[in-house]
Structures are given as structure tokens and as C-alpha cells.
Assembly symmetry: C2
Homo-oligomer: 315 residues x 2
């Protein structure tokens, strides 16, 4: 997307989708929009606001259409959505999502469990999504991302072959997608692996390599984020309050925490365009709307260092 | 110390000192020794087992002498202790500690609050400690470390001048210490700062630069650990279960978590000599002995990845 202009790193919030999908509580539609608006006001430029899944498969996403339409009214925000298949892409386009991510899992077991399709069948869905995109008038075409799930390891299959990741990335680009993301769905990645795979895929597909999606399941989330940035990543997914967790891992946070990620990047002198104090204040909205869920995040709990200053935004 | 032989990185456990010093509960002496023995059996080669402080200043350390004597019976373990002043060094030596760390804070405000002495006065204490060391027979001389507290920032003073850190490191070496450690007492460090400062101090004092002591207060603990290792650090402090926390920051863990650190290092192909599954099992001892304290750690909560293997230990 164009939203990386004037900033060094695009922090893409995925809490309203990935976080809520794994939360204990259900968040009401007005609370979702309040959250999304508050994050956008703090400077977050891209938010994955929902998933276009059948309501009987994933709870809490039946308002996807309303949430996309509401979020589209926010100035300057790239409204992103997940779509597990072509039907979801059609619905996301009808709602007006600017960016649509299809999860293309490298691991066949995970792909079948997650979207009931093989990786090859998902590449076909990407192809159909891109054909639909191309049939639209230029100004209504969404940005189509193939998000390569389990790219760094799979909780069913264990280690994932890096060559398989590379082949799938190329196949998705050949299918016409605008961008390929690398997702550490299981939270298994370690820093040198992130660097190696990011650089390898960048060699294969160049500028089509987009964001990195990391989980903090095993505590290496921000070390991996740093590694991704060192390897050249300019877009990272994260979730406010590390929302989501994992029902099978008490105490294990979900995605990397947006507040902590912004703190890391800005401390490193990289601009994100995000006002960290305003971002931290958004936690209260989520905490109030999801009283039974644990909100993670070290910066949110401990507060900013005395005298801390963000990176200076390029003029 | 010699204990880094045959391993790539020495993980030095500081939970029984730094962790317990900040815990809510008081741990009984037999539980401390059970914990220390279990960690040593898991392959941890150096443990800071206590602090030689007056009992009215820090709770839970009145058994320091007994704990050092008990830990000395464990084969192959380097028994380390903290001593806030020369009196503490005398007591640590009497108990038979093999390594003694004096906290020499770069920030004057922190130094006065922590040990009621200025940084210069603490350098004098280091000098006295080294003179006492040199008066002992060769085989009874402890290894004296100056631990530079607040080297990466101070919760009283904010940013800390890197040149002041470098000058103090040189002064401690001139005072005769065997090793200088860099401590992120406040948890304010970020990765590029860790690399820059570690390399700068290594230029000044070469092989006298020892370990890095990190806290995870703001979530960057393992990203900083990775940075330290990248910059050449071969010894890192950590605390089992991230024990300690901070009374002023609910949810903020204390030191970096030993289990997560070992997971990071071994995933990166660096040997630590530690059996991670055995280490994770030690958490149960601490949880039972400190029922009112929160135990942190992603690996301990989520479990090891499917099919995960440690780095192969050099033969």
C-alpha cells in the first residue's frame, strides 16, 4: 500500500481480526469501531478489521461487513480484511475492503485444518481473487495479499521446508497477488531463521514481498521483529495488548504487542507515524470491551522510560 | 570464569538473588537449595545464589551464608553472590563464594538509592575487594565482578551518558576487578544501543568485559539479548520464570526469563549446556515455594515447538 510513505516501518494492526478471533469474549460492533477509530487517531495507518468467514466457523466475525463499512469512513486508514476463500473475497470486496489477505498455509495439515483446502487449492483461490480484482474499475481494486501461514514452522508438522515456502511465494505471485506476507502462525520462528527466509523470498519475488506476521507464543516475537527489520522488512503485523493468546497455552500472548513493537521501532530510530502515548491509551477501550480477556504488553504495564523520546518523524 | 569452556554462551542464573529480592513471597532456605540444585542438574553452570546485604535492608537474604555453603557442595557449579559493599565482600568470601559482584551504578541517583554510595565510592569498594582477594591464597581467590548498573538508562535520571559508562568500566578495571558486567537495571535498553555500548566498552577493556544483565520490563529483553550476543557477549544473566517483576509495574516481568533465553540461544544454534526440558521442570519448585508470585515465561507456558531440537553440543 501507499501508506508507508513518510514513515520507515508500517505497523499493521491485526487485533480486531487475529486478536478477537482468539479472544474469550465477544466484542460488540460499536466497541470494535471505537477501538479502530482510536488506533487510527493514534497514527496507525493500516488495520485488519475482520475476517470474512461463515459465522458458524469463527465466532465474533458476523459483523464483518458493518465493521469494514464503518472503518472506511476513517480518513487515511487502509482497511484490511482476511478472507479464507474466494467467497470471503467477494464479500470483502462488496464491503469495500482496500486490502484483502488470503491465508495460504505452507503446511498441508494446517491448511486443511484452517481453511479446509490444500495449499495448491488456496493458490487457486488467490488466482480467482486476482481475476475478480482485475475485473473491477481501477479505483475499486483491492490490494490482494497472500499470507503464507506456518512459514516458520507448524504445530502439526513441526519444521517447515524453506524451499516449500519459496515455491509457494513464487506461485502466489504468478497467481497475480500484489503482495506476499510471511506469517509465523505457530510462533516457532527464531531470529536467524527470520532473516534467512525473508532474504531468500526477497530474492525470489523482490518488491512483492510484503509484511511479516509474528506471534509471541515462545517469547521471541520482538527479537524476530528486529531480525525482520534488519533483513529489510518494512511492514509488520501486531496486535494491541497482544490480544488473542492461545486457548492451549495459558499465559502465552498472541500476536506481538503493538505498543511494545512501536516502542522497539521508535527506540531504534525508526519512524512509525504512531503516537505511543495515544496508542497506550487505546488499551482501556479493549480492556473495557473484553473484561474476561488478558491484555498483554510490557510498555502498557510498565509505562514509558523516563525522558523517552520517539524517533523524529521525517519532515 | 572457566565455565564457558565447551559451550558457546554462559547463561548465568540470577533468580535466587535478583528474583527473590523483588518477589512478594519469602523463600525458605531448603527451597532455595532445592531450586539451585535442580537448575545445576539441568546444566546451569553459574548461579548467583544470594546477596550479602544487611537483613534489615533487603528481605529474604539473611540466609546468604548458609545458601552459599550449601550451593558450594554442588559439583561443577560456580557459586556467585552479590555484595553491595566491602563488608558484603568479606562475608561472601568467608562463605566461600567463587564469584562476587559489586553493583557499581553509573547513575549517581541510583547508586545513592541502591547502595548509599556514589559511583566513585563504589569503585573504592571494588578496589578494597580486589586487595582482599589478592591477600588470599591463590586457590581461595574469588572472581570479582563490577556490575555497571543503569548502564543503559536510569529510572531516576533517564538517559545515561555512554562515555560515563566507558569511563566507569575503565576505572573498575584499574581498581583490579576481574570482569565488568553491563546491567540494564531499569529495562530501558534497545538493541542497537546494546550493540553499540557493548562494542565500545569491549574496545576499552577487551577481555575484561564480561556478562550482560538484562530486564524485560519493557518487552525488549530477548531482542536485547540477541543484540548482545551479536555484539560478542558470551555470558548473559537471566532469572527462572522471569522472577522478580517490579512492585511499581504490575505484569512487568523482572529479569529476562532463563527458559526463554535458553530457547532463543539453542534455536540459534548456540550451545548453553542446559537441558531445556529439565530446566522447564524446575519452574514447579519455584511455583510451589512462592505461591503468591507470578511466574513468567512463554516457553514454560506454551511448551516447546513440535519436533524442536537444541543446538548440538560440541564434542
Amino acid at each position: 500500500m501507499n501508506s508507508t510513505e513518510e514513515i520507515d516501518i508500517l505497523v499493521s494492526e491485526v487485533g480486531p481480526r487475529d486478536g478477537l478471533q482468539n479472544a474469550k469474549g465477544l466484542m460488540a460492533t460499536p466497541d470494535k469501531l471505537k477501538w479502530i477509530k482510536a488506533e487510527a487517531a493514534a497514527g496507525v495507518r493500516e488495520i485488519e478489521v475482520c475476517s470474512f468467514v461463515p459465522p458458524n466457523v469463527v465466532k465474533g466475525m458476523s459483523d464483518a461487513d458493518t465493521v469494514v463499512r464503518g472503518a472506511r469512513e476513517i480518513d487515511g486508514l487502509t482497511v484490511a480484511a482476511l478472507a479464507p476463500n474466494f467467497r470471503g473475497v467477494e464479500n470483502a470486496i462488496a464491503a469495500g475492503a482496500a486490502k484483502i489477505t488470503l491465508p495460504v498455509s505452507v503446511s498441508e495439515s494446517h491448511s486443511l485444518a484452517n481453511v479446509r483446502r490444500t495449499p495448491d487449492q488456496m493458490v487457486e483461490e488467490v488466482q480467482r481473487a486476482c481475476a475478480l480484482r482485475d475485473s473491477l474499475p481501477q479505483d475499486r481494486r483491492p490490494h490482494i495479499e497472500a499470507g503464507l501461514s506456518t512459514a516458520f514452522g507448524c504445530s502439526f508438522e513441526g519444521a517447515v521446508d524453506e524451499d516449500a515456502v519459496r515455491r509457494l511465494a513464487v506461485a502466489c505471485v504468478e497467481a497475480g497477488c500484489d503482495e506476499v506476507g510471511l506469517a509465523d502462525t505457530a510462533g516457532y520462528a527464531h531470529p536467524s531463521q527470520v532473516k534467512r527466509l525473508f532474504r531468500a523470498v526477497a530474492q525470489d519475488i523482490g518488491g512483492k514481498l510484503g509484511g511479516v506476521h509474528l506471534h509471541n507464543t515462545l517469547g521471541l516475537g520482538l527479537a524476530n521483529a528486529m531480525a525482520a527489520v534488519d533483513a529489510g522488512a518494512r511492514s509488520l503485523d501486531s496486535s494491541l495488548g497482544g490480544l488473542g493468546g492461545c486457548p492451549f497455552a495459558p499465559g502465552a500472548s498472541g500476536n506481538i504487542v503493538t505498543e511494545d513493537l512501536v516502542f522497539l521501532l521508535e527506540s531504534e530510530g525508526m519512524t512509525t507515524g504512531i503516537d505511543l502515548e495515544k496508542l497506550i491509551a487505546v488499551r482501556a477501550i479493549v480492556e473495557k470491551a473484553l473484561p474476561d480477556d488478558e491484555i498483554f504488553g510490557q510498555v502498557g504495564n510498565a509505562g514509558l522510560p523516563k525522558g523517552w523520546k520517539p524517533a523524529i518523524t521525517a519532515v
